[in-house]
């Protein structure tokens, strides 16, 4: 196998190619003058999709039917409560972060409790949970926008050596996720569970423990993303997560993770997140109206998956 054909066999390569093509088409409009600006913007905004996408990927790896629809509500609640607690005070950054993580943990526990104790299919369990979480967010401060502490606001909006700080955070999380998936026993477990829950149980895998941790992880990553996004955009809004519902799923599947579970990959999430941001930017840049823009977005998604398609069986 030549290195090139080996590369072509990687499921994540297509999302990267797509992101690159779209990026190139966008910077060509200005003859390359927008290269740096666009790249920085892309990495900044992709970072949030990456963080929630990784959480969603872990859940999707658990097999058919596993999906977390409570991601947007969790982001909103974590952002709202953390910012309210910090109330713009730089000294409260750590407690704020802890509260965000705690909220993630609570939502994760709630989600898995519904799935396990009440046997509700995850898609409905997390949807129901998201309604409750959203209500809790409304109830806590009725949508008032509180400013983040100045240190956090500066940190999330600035760059280190030209790389946006949020992208660095996403990179660190991605590396951890990669190690977790590829190198640890836990990674093997969730991949096994995704392929066959019955077989995983008989092989002695603590199925409930592993699934529980996965739902926790997803919710905590969502709350972390909510915390960062609220600081980045200058305050939490009640609708700030809504975009990330479809986004978190889209970046996982476009990134080459098997929708049927058992096979996940981290690099693809980066490609897909960059792609999803860039495709909107490109169509906006070309001045394409909302209708045509939506159609093109859809067709591009389908083309990417067609190019990457023809996968192994059992991946539907």
């Amino acid at each position: 196998m030549t290195p090139l054909s080996r590369l072509a066999g990687k499921p994540w390569i297509w999302s990267w190619i797509a992101a690159f093509v779209v990026w190139f088409a966008t910077i060509m409009v200005t003859g390359g003058a927008s290269t740096l600006g666009l790249s920085q913007a892309a990495f900044t905004f992709a970072a949030f999709s990456i963080i929630v996408g990784i959480g969603q990927m872990f859940v999707i790896t658990l097999g058919p039917g596993n999906i977390d629809l409570s991601v947007p509500a969790t982001m909103t609640l974590a952002g709202t409560v953390a910012l309210k607690l910090m109330n713009g005070d730089n000294g409260m950054i750590v407690p704020g972060l802890l509260v965000a993580v705690l909220i993630g943990l609570a939502v994760g526990i709630g989600n898995y409790a519904l799935i396990k104790a009440l046997r509700i299919p995850p898609i409905i369990a997390t949807l129901s949970m998201s309604f409750i979480v959203q209500s809790a967010a409304i109830w806590t401060n009725r949508g008032l926008r509180i400013k983040p502490p100045s240190f956090l606001a500066d940190f999330t909006t600035s760059s280190t050596l030209g790389v946006p700080n949020v992208a660095l955070v996403a990179l660190a999380i991605s590396l951890l996720a990669w190690v977790l998936l590829e190198k640890t026993v836990y990674g093997r477990w969730i991949s096994a569970i995704g392929q066959s829950m019955a077989a995983a149980r008989m092989a002695g895998i603590p199925v409930d423990g592993a699934r529980f941790v996965t739902y926790l992880l997803c919710a905590v990553l969502a709350s972390l993303a909510g915390y960062l996004l609220a600081c980045f955009s200058g305050g939490a809004a009640l609708n700030m997560g809504s975009e990330y519902l479809l986004m978190s799923i889209a970046v996982v599947v476009i990134g080459g993770t098997a929708v049927a579970g058992g096979d996940s990959n981290v690099p693809g999430i980066w490609g897909a997140s960059l792609f999803m941001f860039l495709v909107v930017s490109m169509l906006n840049t070309y001045g394409i109206g909302a209708g045509v823009r939506l159609i093109m977005t859809g067709l591009i998604i389908i083309s990417v998956i067609m190019l990457a398609g023809g996968r192994r069986t059992g991946m539907r």
Binding site: I27, M240, T285, A290
Partner: protein, 323 residues
């Protein structure tokens, strides 16, 4: 305020419901808060028997239609409605009218003829932004337009107004248009994505709720800050104030006041009271300028939206003005 005795006599046993399709932003939350505050007092004073607010779980016309149908069953005498769609609720609204219920729509109005409409001239709201800019920037320049949610009536109206304004003042040119979905973070993201490819921008025309996001996105680059028309959110006003103090930044801010829900409440009460009210009423939008910025900022709740609440007298005035 002293209530006219007749009003108490005629509507004291009437029940009014608020049908709301969305609660997910600060504007809607302010709208609900104003409603609760004003109607709470009215119920306590015995003007009406009940004024219950209802919000759908999702911002969808179908869900709101079901909500209205439920209100019919619950026996409300009037429904005050902020509609998800000007036309898609017509079926349900017609059913309500047929059941003898008074329907008053505001902000998001409905086209069904049997309902009352308290409308804001959204087109004018868009046009006035360009008009303002033409005063500030006589030489014109490039504009960036931030739109709302595609396919929604308000978005289309304001945008049409903006384009009409540009036709009126041809020194301006819209060089980019993005959808910010009326959300700060979405607007920020969309602006950041298109900004690198745009020429110099003289002004940003918006629909409300997205000015701060645009400012954030532009501040992240090394561009000069254009004139961004704001949308009455407290964080926008505060940012404007900071800029004004630092470098004399000038702009204006315009939006519909969330308290218009209370106007709709009083109008519904007046109709139930037997007043003859014209089907189409107009309320002015709430505009903040350079000189009244501080006053408005002081009156706006931290993190909230600049607001005006209406009293029964205000409503009567609006009704009579339309006659």
């Amino acid at each position: 305020a002293a209530m006219p005795v007749s009003a108490i006599a005629d509507t004291a046993d009437k029940k009014i419901a608020l049908s709301n399709n969305y609660a997910g932003n600060s504007w809607r939350q302010a709208m609900l808060t104003s409603w609760e505050k004003v109607t709470g007092e009215a119920v306590k004073a015995g003007v009406v028997a009940a004024a219950d607010p209802f919000t759908t779980a999702e911002n969808q016309a179908t869900e709101q239609a079901a909500q209205i149908q439920n209100m019919i069953l619950q026996g409300y005498d009037a429904i005050v409605l902020n509609a998800a769609s000007p036309t898609a609720l017509n079926g349900a609204v017609k059913e309500a009218c047929d059941a003898g219920i008074t329907v008053v729509s505001f902000d998001g109005i409905v086209t069904e003829p049997c309902a009352w409409r308290i409308a804001v001239d959204f087109k004018e709201m868009g046009r006035s932004q360009v008009e303002y800019l033409s005063g500030k920037l006589p030489d014109g320049g490039n504009l960036l337009e931030i739109r709302g949610l595609a396919g929604v009536f308000v978005d289309d109206e304001i945008s049409a107004g903006i384009h009409a304004g540009v036709a009126e003042f041809p020194q301006f040119k819209i060089v980019g248009s993005v959808h910010g979905d009326w959300a700060q973070d979405v607007a920020q993201k969309a602006v950041a994505g298109i900004l690198p490819s745009l020429p110099e921008i003289a002004g940003v025309v918006t629909q409300g709720g997205d000015g701060y996001g645009a400012a954030q996105a532009i501040a992240a680059t090394d561009r000069a800050m254009p004139v961004i028309v704001m949308g009455n959110r407290e964080d926008e006003l505060k940012w404007w104030k900071e800029q004004k103090d630092a470098n004399g930044y000038e702009t204006m801010s315009v939006s519909i006041a969330p308290g218009v829900s209370t106007l709709a409440f009083w109008v519904a009460q007046q109709i139930l009271d037997g007043k003859d009210v014209k089907k189409d009423l107009v309320v002015p939008f709430l505009r903040i300028d350079q000189d009244n910025l501080e006053d408005n900022l002081a009156n706006t709740q931290a993190g909230g939206v600049a607001n005006v609440e209406y009293s029964q007298e205000d409503a009567i005035k609006v009704i009579e003005a339309a006659m």
